[in-house]
Subunit: 204 residues, 2 copies
């Protein structure tokens, strides 16, 4: 072993960049035109990548979409973690945490993920890939929410209340699918913050 730097491999970098462009274009495409309109060819064109290069990375729509939603989920969890760490000095207000969650579940990524879930609900092979991915994302979102709220899950009922909060924001994501639900969502989350403070014994 030497300390000499390993020469960069431009081709590998290019390949990684191409893959990432395809994943990002796939999320945009799913969120805007839906599952039926999201094919490898359409995504390749949107990403400015040749169809051949795209198919080198992803042979099927299912492969591309699953990879895209996983990539996007990782990014959203990282963003959530970062933003919560910024708030960590001053203990974040419950409403700040809820607002972050509300954003997470109304983003283009949520819309893209929703397309994937719905497609997977009638496709066993796709479902087998999506279920463990969603379980992992769900655990991460739960853990981050517990940390952000400083909730003590050893207290009976706290775990279920945190879960209910995540199911609520998931429902809010669905409510935002066809119309802009942001004004109602803001009122609802302000009230939810009070309910949560009382249920968790948190001082507002």
């Amino acid at each position: 072993m030497t300390t000499q730097a390993i020469p960069r491999e431009p081709q590998q970098d290019r390949s990684r960049a191409t893959r990432q462009r395809l994943l990002e274009a796939a999320i945009d495409c799913l969120a805007s035109v839906g599952w039926t309109g999201t094919t490898v060819a359409v995504v390749a064109e949107r990403a400015g990548v040749s169809r051949g290069a795209a198919q080198h990375h992803f042979r099927t729509r299912e492969e591309l979409v699953t990879a895209a939603v996983e990539y996007g989920s990782d990014i959203r969890v990282d963003q959530m973690r970062e933003r919560l760490y910024v708030l960590a000095d001053e203990r974040p207000a419950t409403l700040e945490v809820l607002t972050l969650l509300g954003e997470l579940y109304t983003s283009p990524l949520f819309r893209a993920a929703l397309q994937l879930w719905v497609a997977a609900s009638s496709d066993d092979q796709l479902r087998a890939q999506v279920v463990p991915m969603e379980a992992r994302f769900g655990r991460e979102a739960h853990r981050l929410t517990v940390e952000a709220l400083g909730a003590d899950e050893s207290v009976p009922g706290v775990r279920e209340t945190i879960q209910a909060t995540l199911d609520l924001v998931r429902g809010l994501g669905l409510a935002d699918l066809l119309t802009d639900d942001s004004a109602r969502r803001d009122r609802l989350l302000r009230q939810w913050a009070l309910t949560l403070d009382s249920a968790l014994g948190r001082t507002p």
Copy 2:
């Protein structure tokens, strides 16, 4: 005008029965094979109706599916109303109401509606039909929940808490899409009943 009975019109009855069979088959079909697999031809076959007769009632998939979800929503609201009226003698426990809502949002109808919402999210024409229908269903579900819980919406925050309850069960419906979530849902709703009793000042 006479008091003589108007003769029944068997052809009209048959037509109505055919329409109803198509609507019910469309809900089953959407819930099991999804939007892409739900065509007028497939639904006609499932309903045991000729393709010509089916197309006499519904020219396009969009027409059929929208009518089916509307029909199913009306039936579910009626069922919910009936079941709540049965409970009305003894004031229903909060958990009973939540369990009813949980069933409503994990039924084949919810799955069918979800397929329609997701399709409408990238189809402006379909969206224009679905949005007022969903608004009407949402108002009905809200009104029934308020009645069932005997909630007083003139108290600040109560309206938002009822809305949150409905968004929560909608999120629970989504969580049940790919895996059987019933055990977690039961625990969560038991805890939510306690939170709701406290938030609404309801004695359990």
